[in-house]
């Protein structure tokens, strides 16, 4: 099972919407990274924008750009990953219930609170009757959506599939996750995140979409495969999972030209990446990205966007260097991400 990335678009804190690959985290008014959002009026019918929550606008805008770039009017499937879905609308409705004591509630935020609202709104705008899914399993959300895509392209070789990973952050969700010890406050992510070895990662958000198919022509990169694994009993099990995934695709660790790892600045879990680097990738280029995107459950979609850009442009931008070893032709890139050493995922990209 493999597929080609024919089009891509990321709305992220690194100002990536227009497609340039400068990679600067530039928007952090609070203690977390928020997206540099495009002017939605240019992209979405203004009458519809008014009623859309922010995460829906981000999802719809990135999707429409992705489709427009390759002049695809109607995809054969819309498959999304979003761990927390439309939190802003969920909070709004919950607030009304608590404050108004279950009286005089307005339905708008309720009907937009379901996790498949983003995928559903895209279908509605495109009048697209195709297969429409929303995967919502923490940091497996995007990976499950990607696996579905790869399986469908085996089942339906001519399909063109819109695939995306979307999550938003709100002041409330940040506050709760910060109290839970998941996030910390970081004022300047790009320089400060890894300086202090402390608990908690930097919160972020993003909307990243792709058009995937079996067509290699003009593709950005090829997705060779995706694999998830859950709660490895020790580092050895994680290492073995990675090595067997590579060998299933006919690769040794040395043949991976760069590994994009999900370093998040959380001292409790970044050690997992250190251990994998030491045991499996001692001589490989190690890249990181969460100081650009922030840490969120579907951030691996951003990593896949970045990986595809690296292969297309054949560059290793300094902003992503965690451990730069050597400049070389970028043929194979592995993305390795994990959340709290619980959900681990691997995505293998290659040049077409």
């Amino acid at each position: 099972m493999k597929a080609y990335i024919n089009s891509l678009c990321a709305i992220s804190p690194a100002n990536t919407f227009a497609g340039d690959f400068s990679l600067v985290a530039e928007n952090y008014p609070n203690d977390y990274l928020t997206c540099v959002e495009p002017d939605y009026k240019e992209i979405i019918n203004p009458n519809l924008i008014r009623r859309m929550g922010r995460v829906i606008k981000m999802g719809v805008a990135a999707s429409l750009k992705c489709l427009k770039d390759i002049e695809l009017a109607n995809p054969d499937a819309i498959i999304t990953g979003t761990s927390l879905g439309c939190i802003e609308d969920t909070e709004k409705f919950l607030n009304q219930i608590v404050i108004n004591k279950e009286q005089f509630l307005a339905p708008t935020s309720f009907i937009q609170s379901t996790h498949n609202t983003i995928a559903g709104q895209i279908a509605l705008l495109l009048k697209c009757n195709s297969y429409n899914y929303a995967y919502v399993h923490r940091s497996f959300s995007f990976e499950n959506a990607l696996l579905d895509t790869l399986m469908m392209l085996t089942e339906q070789p001519n399909h063109k599939i819109l695939l995306g990973g979307v999550d938003e952050i709100t002041q409330v969700s940040y506050t709760i996750m910060q109290r839970l010890g998941i996030y910390k406050s970081v004022k300047d992510a790009s320089t400060e995140l890894f300086r202090h070895k402390t608990e908690g990662s930097i919160a972020g958000e993003g909307s990243t979409f792709f058009v995937m198919s079996n067509t290699a022509d003009k593709a950005f990169a090829c997705v060779q495969g995706v694999k998830t694994f859950y709660k490895p009993t020790d580092d050895i099990e994680a290492q073995n999972n990675i090595l067997s995934f590579l060998s299933e695709h006919g690769l040794s660790a040395q043949e991976v030209d760069a590994v994009i790892m999900g370093y998040s600045g959380d001292s409790r879990y970044d050690s997992v990446y250190d251990s994998i680097t030491e045991a499996v990738f001692p001589h490989n280029n190690i890249l990181y990205y969460k100081h650009l995107s922030g840490d969120y459950f579907t951030s691996s979609a951003f990593a896949m966007w970045a990986g595809a850009q690296l292969i297309k442009t054949q560059t290793l931008p300094e902003a992503m260097h965690y451990r730069f070893v050597s400049a070389k032709a970028l043929k194979n890139i592995l993305i390795y991400n994990q959340y709290k050493n619980s959900e681990h995922s691997l995505i293998l990209l290659s040049a077409c």
Binding site: M1, I78, S83, L84, G85, T90, F93, L94, N95, I97, V98, I99, K101, E102, L105, A106, P107, F110, I111, Q112, S113, T114, H115, N116, T117, A119, G120, Q121, A123, L124, L126, K127, C128, N129, S130, Y131, N132, Y133, A134, Y135, V136, H137, R138, F140, L147, D148, M151, T154, E155, Q156, P157, H159, I176, R179, L180, T228, Y230, K231, S342, E343
Partner: protein, 409 residues
């Protein structure tokens, strides 16, 4: 008939080797079957949820507290566990036990589904948090997300090889059975525990109430005078297995997953289209995949919520496909209530039981045909009828429409 596309029929077949269910009409498969046979429904006044709506609106609640549910699971600790997780653990455990398969020998995954996740506990947290952002017991919110219940079930049963959670509103767990089946066909795993779980919450009760689609009496799907739905809660799981496993366990599976289809109505965020296009495409896609003809379907377990809009749209889609030969059909939601993200899993279990026991369930409270339609549901329990192929519909917000076709084997 125009399906969305024809699934390439990969050789691998997928079977159901075990079922588990918990809802307002029973804590086990056996209890559920007894209730269905006796015509005993689960809709009544709300006793296990603090809501101002409880005086006015009935629901199909599971009459046990969270502590009692924990006791049933042998979990004797004080940690708050969401009701959604507890239902899921009960139903999933039964599905595994029911199959008699030693999962340790195979690559086993779980695909679960939920619409509200841990909202039942988050609501407690939010009451305090809303007044002061430093307040609110964090133990009540850390299980808010949809994956929480899935990981609880997986940890409880020792499932580790694959894991996913789907949330597409009220079609969620039909979609988890569909994805689970495809995982087996694509040789990602050998077996998948697939289904879903949801609990009643103030959030969803009030949400549907603001849409003015809750019936203040016992709901009457497909009736001319239907006014809305009754909410429910519970969980339904099936154990999906590959052909290879069936050949190794020397035991007949309960049913085969013969077809499935998902389509989007692309009409409105909450309302169904007048011509039932999404429902039509989901059903025709599933039929095309199954290789069955419309006349081979013996029973349709309809989505049939009891809202004016759903039942008319679904009925029109059925008439478009089956013409004047619409099979026997009924909504089982007057028994279980509408269990949202769990509905597809619960109704898949009921569909398997219909095949196993040659039953067609009554659509309670029906008395008068919808004037725009020329079809009526089954009103009395039918026994000793040959039920070989069942079509089960689940439709949700966001225009998400799914159909499963389950068959005898």
């Amino acid at each position: 008939m125009q399906p969305l596309f024809k699934y390439i029929l990969m050789n691998e077949k997928v079977f159901i080797a075990g079922i588990g269910i918990v809802s307002a009409i029973g804590f086990t498969v056996e209890e559920t079957l007894q209730s269905l046979r006796a015509g005993r429904h689960g809709v009544g006044s709300i006793t296990h949820l603090e809501t101002t709506l409880k005086e006015q609106i009935p629901a199909a609640q599971i009459k046990k507290t969270n502590n009692e549910l924990k006791h049933m699971l042998g979990l004797e600790n004080n940690e708050p566990i969401t009701r959604t997780s507890l239902f899921g653990m009960l139903a999933a455990r039964e599905a595994l036990t029911n199959s008699g398969i030693d999962i340790g020998k195979y690559r086993c995954g779980i695909v679960s589904a939920t619409s509200v996740g841990g909202m039942d506990l988050s609501e407690h947290f939010y009451d305090d948090f809303n007044a002061d952002r430093a307040q609110g017991d964090l133990l009540y919110v850390k299980g808010h997300d949809c994956a929480e219940s899935t990981e609880r079930i997986a940890n409880f049963l020792g499932i580790k090889d694959f894991m996913a959670t789907i949330s597409t509103a009220c079609s969620s767990s039909a979609n988890s059975i569909m994805f689970g089946s495809r995982l087996i066909k694509n040789n990602v795993v050998d077996m998948v525990l697939a289904g879903g779980t949801d609990s009643l919450t103030r959030f969803t009760m009030n949400g549907f109430n603001t849409l003015m689609i809750l019936d203040k009496e016992h709901c009457k799907p497909f009736d001319a005078k239907r006014v809305g739905l009754n909410m429910g809660e519970g969980s339904g799981f099936v154990l999906l297995v590959s052909e290879k496993i069936v050949s190794e366990i020397h035991k007949n599976p309960l049913a085969e997953v013969k077809g499935y289809g998902n389509a989007n109505d692309a009409y409105h965020q909450t309302a169904s289209s007048p011509d039932g296009q999404g429902a039509y495409l989901a059903m025709t896609t599933a039929l095309a995949m199954s290789g069955l003809h419309p006349e081979d379907i013996d029973y349709i377990n309809v989505h049939g919520t009891g809202t004016s809009n759903n039942d008319l749209s679904e009925g029109i889609a059925m008439q478009r496909i089956f013409g004047d030969k619409v099979p026997l059909f009924s909504s089982t939601k007057p028994f279980t209530g509408h269990t949202l993200g769990a509905a597809g899993g619960i109704e898949a279990v009921l569909s398997v039981l219909a095949i196993q026991h040659n039953l067609v369930y009554p659509n309670l409270n029906f008395s008068e045909q919808i004037p725009e339609l020329n079809i009526s549901p089954v009103t009395h329990l039918i026994e000793n009828v040959n039920v070989r192929n069942v079509l089960s519909n689940s439709f949700g917000f966001g225009g998400n429409n799914s159909t499963l076709i389950l068959s005898d084997c």
